[in-house]
């Protein structure tokens, strides 16, 4: 399914999955994202870091047009997924979101059974023909999220009954089940303890072999551990974007340096 020989050195040569040009976001009169240009590579982990309110989550939500659901929010500029403009009039945001999955800050499983949680996406997209096929998809997704062994005997119990970390992995399984091309994660570990966080970080590392992962995080250590590319946002501007190693060891901008050394933020 994926190319196991791919290594981190290939990142630079990887195809561009998402390219954003001159993206502006307004919340009413507030200019929340200012002129952001960014190229996100396929099959890599890209992290967005920056102080609270810098616009990193807002920008993340532009990529699958979740901002459409906010009445006062207005997005300008161009975002392309595989060269196709996601704001083109003929694009159905629902179809886009099937390709660009999302995991949220707070674990938000549906108040349904574990099975139904994972099966929901494949069901509404008509991805499976039979019950056994669906079972298979659910198992694969749960295995992919490292949750299978823990829940295989209680698939019909409510997803909300799991622990916080398990719930978040369930949400990842739910997102993975629709076989997205990009997975957006909005601070997926901020509500979790260190052990659950470590599990999810391992998971992300595995997921990048199937698709590109874009993760917003408050933890610079986390960004350094899991991502190959890092973007630093500050007051709505994309200040610096590059290889994670470079950003953390040799930042070009003073603001980046101040932030990663803990002087601001």
């Amino acid at each position: 399914m994926y190319d196991v020989t791919r290594t981190e050195r290939d990142v630079d040569q990887a195809d561009t999955k998402i390219s954003a040009r001159n993206v502006q976001v307004y919340y009413g009169d507030t200019h929340a994202i200012k002129d952001v240009d960014v190229d996100i590579a396929d099959k890599t982990v890209t992290s967005f870091i920056g102080p609270s309110g810098c616009g990193k989550s807002t920008f993340l939500r532009c990529i699958n047009r979740m901002n459409d659901t906010i009445d006062i929010c207005r997005v300008e500029g161009e975002i392309k997924l595989d060269g196709e403009d996601i704001h083109a009039p003929s694009v159905d945001p629902v179809q886009l979101r099937a390709k660009v999955g999302m995991v949220f800050q707070k674990p938000n499983p549906f108040p349904k059974s574990i099975y139904d949680n994972v099966a929901y996406g494949p069901k509404i997209h008509g991805m499976t023909r039979s019950k056994s096929e669906l079972d298979e998809v659910v198992e694969t997704a749960l295995r992919g999220a490292g949750l299978w062994e823990e829940v295989k005997d209680r698939l019909d119990t409510p997803g909300t009954g799991l622990s916080g970390g398990q719930q978040q992995r369930l949400c990842i399984a739910r997102a993975v089940a629709t076989q997205p091309e990009v997975l957006l994660m909005d601070e997926p570990c901020s509500a979790l303890d260190p052990i659950a966080t470590a599990l999810i970080e391992d998971l992300i590392d595995g997921l990048k072999q199937q698709f590109s992962v874009v993760i917003v995080t408050h933890s610079m250590q986390q960004a350094a551990r899991i991502s190959q590319k890092t973007a630093f946002f500050h007051l709505g501007n994309l200040v610096e974007y590059g290889d994670t190693d470079t950003i953390f060891t040799n930042p070009q901008d003073e603001r980046t340096e101040n932030y990663i050394t803990g002087r601001t933020g």
């Binding site: 979740m66 390709k99 949220f104 108040p111 949400c171 739910r174 997102a175 629709t178």
Partner: protein, 442 residues
Amino acid sequence: MTDATLNTGGESPRSSLLTQDAHTKRRNRAETRFRAYGLAAILIGLFFLIVLAVSIIRSGTPAFTRTVVDVEFTLTQTQIDEAESQLFKTAAYSGYFIDALKRQLDERGMDVAFDEDAIERIVGKPGSTIREYYRASPDRAGTPVAFELAASSRVDGYFNGRVTRDTIQDSRFLMEADLDLVDALAEAGIIRSSINWTFITGADSGVDNPGAAGIGASVVGSFFMMLVVLALSLPIGVAASIYLEEFAPQNRFTDLIEVNISNLAAVPSIVFGILGLAVFIQFAHLPQSAPLVGGLVLTLMTLPTIIISTRASLRAVPPSIRDAALGVGASKMQSVFHHVLPLAMPGILTGTIIGLAQALGETAPLLLIGMVGFVARGYPDGLAAGFMDPNSAMPAQIYTWAARADASFYEKAWGGIIVLLVFLLTMNILAIILRRRFERRW
């Protein structure tokens, strides 16, 4: 620095945990007082509830019994023909009845003097009931028939304790001597109390015949009305709420609609009544007194309640659920119908049942569309048919009875209240069961 902060307290000794200082004491006293107020409020409420329940049950139970006179007699075809040939036909039948009663008393060896007037005061005017019977089934002529005739409302009251020998001192409607006869008849087993099935199954009666009055017809009427209200207001209300809450853009127009819905919920129900009269009866020419029209009027009244509570419960569904659904590529409608609506369902049901309960007890709008003071003809054949046939509703029926002069109707009104409350309780229990089922689905 630490020392300095410790010393700013001055010379006061360290307070002990074992004694409460003045401030704490005051605070605790305030809390104790508040708890006492709360408890008192609940006890007062409970007291009134008990008073209400006891008085309803005490005043209402007599409505479920009635006093009947058992007389068995045979009328031959000749007798019937003779009665039918007279000017006062029912009086002739009454005469037969009195003869039969006399015979029955003689057979038992009782020697009580009574006249026709006394019988009339005790049994009312039995002639018409007997005549009706033979007209309905002429083939019974010549065979013995056991009649169970309702006693007059005062005799009924005598059995229930409402009427005593003292209270009829000056009455022209029942003499003290009549009560001697009643006692004798009761002893002989001819006059007795029995369960009043007519009250539970029957329709309203004329003002001078409380013994034949029943709530059954109006229970059917209320039931049909509730069906109409439920079938219309739940889908319309929920659809309107979902659209307003989830899909409608936020602008002046939707703001205006919102304000209007809130205002509609506070509009007096009689206003809806006159609207129903103007629109449904005078304009649309729907039949008067029909449960369909009553249901339509009550739907108008119930809609705002349902919309407001449905919107509140939709709003109470965490936005993260909507995000989650949209995040996996569900459409707006899928996210609403698969996730938001099921979560809001218990709240919607609660709102609906409150709205229905309100509608069930509503009298004022029904007065205006003629669902009151109505005597059902041909019950039950004419009523079970349904929505377009003239009928009454429980609260309107109770209102009619309470307004009548005969004290026996007053009892019926209380009895009607009991039936209304039982109906309401059944509805609520049904709602609770439904809500449980919805909640248990996850």
